[in-house]
Point group: C2
Chain length 395, copies 2
């Protein structure tokens, strides 16, 4: 048994963590665009990165240095440092060397970036700006704001986790993800801090497991950025650990932030859970659920609040998973419109299903009737704002 | 050596073929919605169908009857007869039995449908209407119009193929495909007639080969309908055949109609050829090319005439094919913006690339620099009209 209590403080909620965000002049109008996370004790750090084959320079740098421990993460917005080749990695080395010289306490610093692809980092600006950091600041709000691109709000969360024994540890996180807006900057970044005494060798598996059902279950436009990153920093200052409780809290933190990303964005008006059950296995359930989140026909029907179940069926059929029209059942919320080969969709059910779709968040459930595979993916609708913003971006 | 001469007549251009289109009251305003193709000699027929696992009733009926020869194809628009179960197949049997009773000459009739998914066919209307068919009509235009859903124009083509010997045969075709509009009706149907004396056992392979580089190379929204069908009918009346010439003419017919489908649709303002070269193999080239046609980020950039090469690179990287930023080259038309790891994109090239994108049709070329795999896929942009039509459709 354990309890999770929401607390303030974001990435600074766990003991010994510091953060701030400032303007380095990458964004216009003095908006914050450069953030750090610092721990006064050396952290273990583990990360999961984008599966895009063109991983950005910060990811290549992290892997090249085989970083396992750090006490300093530097994050910039507005420039992804992607498709920038060896020069992009050298830029990071220059910047982080400068940070190390300026702040003597920094060990194995790490960088993370989000923004436009294919442009070199303005490293002089970043180096000058980082000199003004106060490593003893606990300004999680400013850090969360600095990593935003076109997010409409910052995304933070923190919990105090209390075990049955009364012992406690904290977990905090911040994320950015532009949802349907500005997908050239649609990188998803998430930084999680904890003072739980999680064993080093459990961190990687835990973050990967949690990512599979959270960040890897959301889709805003089916594209996978060059920069997607989830990092977990653990400084163990609480001395407390319970595996089950930590795994639960980690997944909760990542789930909430993932849903925040889907729900955000001027273009998205709805967050929809596509629940697949009865697939041949979990992999096939995942394929079908993600196909629904990525189907233009489904996304535009969501926007139009049109319970067009034929598009749902057709998308599942096209996804290539094992399925059979006589075993398929489709429901909008509690309203079943097609059941085991029988069309239940009539005027009354159409009205009821359309009512479900008027909500900001709802579930579409498809039981394939084949096996026990289950997966829920989260998606959003596609409206005029998406086209407007994406067609007009850059030029 | 052989020559292709464009001729009029569509599916009626080959000798012995007849066609017409009438209104059965499925579309409003007395618009044509029911078509037939008839041959006065028994044809061999071969078809390729959608890979969607929920194949529509007309496809299931065709397979169930193992149809290899026919002289009558009936096609309706406005109702896909998909997700209608056994009842959907029985409806077809009732309709075709009625046709056979009414027109004594009909052998092994075939049906094909396009329209809304999940609604039973109005079979009484269709049976009453087909009685008014005149099987000696050669009204290919009316047939091509009757199979349209929201196509903005009918799609027909025909060639006279002349061999070096002076011998001739004809090939004709009609297609429908709603492009970016009304994708709940986005079924692609294509009916090809010929009087060439093509051997029965060569037909299936030939139509499949031609489909791979034509209809299977186009994407309007990444969805695969429950009804997609390409049928080849051959009555051999010319007595003439040359394998190379026929294969060329067949691919030409299908290529032109496929491009017509991409270019059509209120939502689409551009038809873009995504040429992948230098992939590890043809399969990987196909994956990368299709990923580009389906990427929302790329499609909206096309609409905005924004030479955002970072989105192209990121989409290729995300597609999972073997690639390396140091070997990749990206060009808009003749304007190379990224070459073997070097960013050539500057203000001048940006302006030149944007100029290329202002055209109605152009190519984006990506050389992966890995192997010899090549594939060209054809796609279109995604604009406001697409959202408007798809969000507002049905309700």
């Amino acid at each position: 048994m354990f309890t999770l209590m929401p607390i303030d403080g974001g990435v600074c909620a766990p003991e010994g963590f510091y953060a701030d965000g400032i303007s380095a002049g990458l964004k216009p109008d003095n908006l914050k665009d450069l953030a750090f996370i610092h721990s006064d004790e050396l952290c273990d750090i583990r990360a999961v990165f984008t599966t895009n084959r063109f991983q950005a320079a910060p990811i290549l740098h992290f892997k090249k240095e085989s970083i396992q421990q750090t006490n300093f993460v530097l994050i910039n917005a507005k420039n992804a440092n992607a498709m920038t080749g060896t020069a992009g990695i050298e830029d990071i080395e220059r910047i982080l060397d400068h940070a190390r010289v300026h702040f003597k306490t920094i060990v194995n610093p790490v960088m993370s970036s989000t923004g436009v692809i294919g442009v070199r980092l303005p490293k002089e600006k970043i180096m000058r700006a980082l000199e003004t950091f106060d490593l003893s600041s606990q300004n999680a709000d400013a850090a969360a704001q600095a990593i935003m691109t076109t997010d409409s709000c910052d995304k933070q969360i923190a919990f105090e986790v209390q075990l049955e024994s009364g012992e406690r540890f904290n977990i905090g996180a911040m994320a950015k993800g532009a949802g349907m807006i500005n997908p050239a900057m649609a990188t998803m970044l998430c930084f999680i801090t904890t003072d739980a005494a999680i064993p080093s060798d459990e961190m990687q598996a835990m973050i990967q497991n949690a990512a599979a059902s959270t960040f890897n279950a959301i889709s805003v436009d089916g594209d996978t950025s060059t920069n997607d990153t989830v990092m977990l920093l653990s400084n163990r200052k609480s001395g407390i650990y319970n595996r089950e409780a930590f795994a639960f809290a980690l997944e909760k933190v990542m789930h909430e932030l993932a849903l925040n990303i889907v729900a955000d964005g001027e273009g998205a008006t709805k967050c929809v859970a596509f629940q697949i059950t009865g697939a041949a296995n979990r992999e096939e359930a995942t394929i079908a659920a993600k196909a629904l989140t990525n189907s233009l026909l489904v996304k535009t029907a969501l926007y139009g609040e049109d319970p067009n179940w034929g598009r749902i069926a057709s998308t599942i059929g096209a996804s290539g998973v094992m399925c059979d029209p006589d075993r398929l059942t489709i429901s909008f919320g509690d309203v079943t419109v097609y059941q085991n080969g029988t069309i239940l969709f009539d005027e009354e059910r159409e009205a009821m299903a359309a009512n479900v779709m008027r909500k900001k968040a709802f579930a579409i459930h498809c039981d394939l009737g084949i096996g026990n595979g289950e997966f829920t993916a989260y998606g959003c609708d596609l409206g005029h704002e998406y086209v407007k913003i994406n067609a007009d971006y850059r030029t």
